[in-house]
């Protein structure tokens, strides 16, 4: 089955935080980046901007530690890891367990929330003007890197001739 993943091209990101806004509007109805499921980490003086979002890990620690099975995997929907808000007790164990600092505690709803790929149409991808975030087939996620390596190899071969 084709599985899609979110891929971030950090070099394209301008740090506009549009993704945070559209994410919070889509999920909460509020234009409040602090309630977004994606967070842009910035190193301003170096010009590095890195949108951080859930990796939906194969061996997800958040799923392992959830005491109510609210955090679970949905293999039929892009193998995503989601949190069922109706089951979440807000213990924040998943936040403690995730090495990527991902699930967030929503102070409004008093539960933990995380990226759910917006049910197959990620709003961060849709509204990113510079296309720094893309939602692509998992098998092709490193296609750009493979192409880059192939180009480098081709250059080397040209020089060798």
């Amino acid at each position: 089955m084709e599985q899609k993943v979110l891929v971030v091209d950090q070099e394209k990101c301008t740090g506009c935080r549009q993704c945070e806004l559209v994410c919070s509007v889509y999920h909460t109805g509020a234009s409040n980046p602090s309630r977004s499921r994606v967070r842009v980490v910035k190193w301003e003086h170096m010009g590095i901007y890195l949108p951080m979002t859930c990796n939906h890990c194969d061996n997800a620690f958040c799923v392992e530690v959830c005491p109510t099975k609210a955090c679970h995997r949905e293999p039929e929907k892009d193998n995503r890891v989601v949190i069922d808000k109706k089951l979440c007790i807000g213990c924040r164990t998943c936040i403690m367990a995730c090495p990527f600092g991902q699930p967030f505690f929503d102070a409004g709803e008093r539960v933990t929330v995380k990226c759910d790929y917006c049910d197959g149409d990620p709003q961060c991808v849709r509204f990113c003007d510079v296309k720094a975030i893309s939602f692509i087939d998992a098998n092709n996620s490193n296609l750009a890197r493979r192409r880059e390596s192939a180009n480098r190899l081709a250059d080397l071969l040209k020089q060798a001739r």
Binding site: W43, E44, H45, M46, I48, L50, F61, E64, V65, C66, P67, T68, K69, A70, L87, C88, I89, G90, C91, R92, T93, I95, M96, A97, C98, P99, F100, G101, F105, E109, R110, V111, T112
Partner: protein
């Protein structure tokens, strides 16, 4: 432009401890540990048949019944645990949903903890009630009671260990991810629990602590404090070597912003001060000093949980290393960051 050029990625290496679990969880861990520890010591005293000081108030009248309080100083641990459990519930986002965790005992250590604590509280309160109630048909000293007492003993041990296992289950925090943590918390539970029993038995006969079974209990408590100190040293020294974040956590405790919690709370109040005061009080036979030592030890037990909880620094993610390498931020050390 006098502003110093800050290096934000390197700043990222300054310890950033977790902010999710705070004092509320520390209180829960402390009361659960201390209550379970005192119950373990209490049951051992009960089984060996040692006669300790009678409490200053041996009986009370309640609803026409005469309640026997002679065993209550060694069996009140479950009350402390049941006082601590609500702190975990209060820390939840949606409090009433704690029942969901009870209904899924096989999912995680938080859920298992609910079950372990619930069984211990029920059995412990049953044994406390058995020792209090004046009903002869209960046969409080009969051998069938050994079965619930034995099960309660096992669950008291599980409760004391669980307080450490709950933190150990968080694999992404190197400071907590060690088998030594549950053992350290068990030692602390036993030392604070035994001191809680000593304090609750002091009321009637303040100078009885230097003779007979109380003296043995005092020695056992002092030994447990020393064992706790050794375990704390082993725990910190091993965590310091395990990873960069383990090192950060230990630095936070020893020299960072948690140094007051560590040196004054854990080391001074929890280990050194009680041992010294108990030594002096045994010379001068001064129960006031023993009270101060006891309260100091109990406070130190709380600071141990608080310090370890607040010093938890998460493991670094691989992409941080990648960014450092990519932007030439790696150190020129031969031992580190060789690409």
């Amino acid at each position: 432009m006098g502003a110093a050029h800050t290096h934000s990625i390197r700043e990222g290496r300054t310890p950033r401890p977790q902010q999710e679990w705070k004092a509320m969880i520390a209180i829960y861990l402390y009361l659960a540990g201390m209550g379970a520890g005192s119950f373990i010591i209490g049951l051992l005293i009960h089984w060996t048949g040692v006669i300790l000081n009678p409490p200053s108030l041996p009986f009370i009248e309640l609803l026409g019944y005469r309640l026997d309080l002679t065993k209550s100083p060694i069996f009140w641990g479950p009350i402390v645990v049941s006082m601590g459990a609500p702190f975990l519930i209060l820390d939840l986002g949606i409090k009433w949903r704690f029942m969901y965790a009870c209904l899924n005992p096989r999912t995680s250590w938080v859920a298992r903890g609910f079950i372990i604590l619930s069984i211990f509280i029920v059995l412990g309160l049953l044994i406390l009630a058995k020792s209090l109630l004046p009903f002869k048909w209960l046969y409080p000293e009969s051998s069938p009671w050994l079965i619930p007492e034995g099960i309660a003993f096992v669950f008291a041990f599980a409760t004391a260990l669980y307080t450490g296992i709950l933190l150990k289950a968080t694999k992404s925090v190197p400071l907590w991810n060690t088998h030594l943590l549950p053992v350290l918390f068990l030692a602390s539970a036993l030392s604070t629990g035994s001191m809680a029993i000593i304090l609750s038995l002091l009321g009637s006969d303040p100078i009885a602590y230097h003779k007979g079974a109380m003296k043995v209990l005092m020695y056992a408590e002092q030994l447990l404090v020393i064992v706790e100190g050794i375990l704390l040293y082993l725990f910190l020294s091993r965590r310091y070597r395990v990873s960069e974040q383990g090192k950060d956590s230990v630095r936070l405790l020893l020299t960072g912003k948690l140094r007051f919690v560590f040196w004054q709370g854990i080391i001074f109040l929890g280990l050194v001060f009680p041992i010294v005061l108990e030594f002096i009080s045994s010379y001068y036979r001064n129960s006031a000093l023993l009270w101060i030592a006891g309260l100091s030890l109990l406070t130190g037990g709380f600071f141990l949980r608080l310090g370890i909880l607040r010093a938890g620094v998460k493991d670094r993610i691989p992409m941080q290393r990648l960014v450092e390498i990519r932007y030439g931020l790696v150190k020129n050390s031969k031992s580190e960051f060789r690409v």
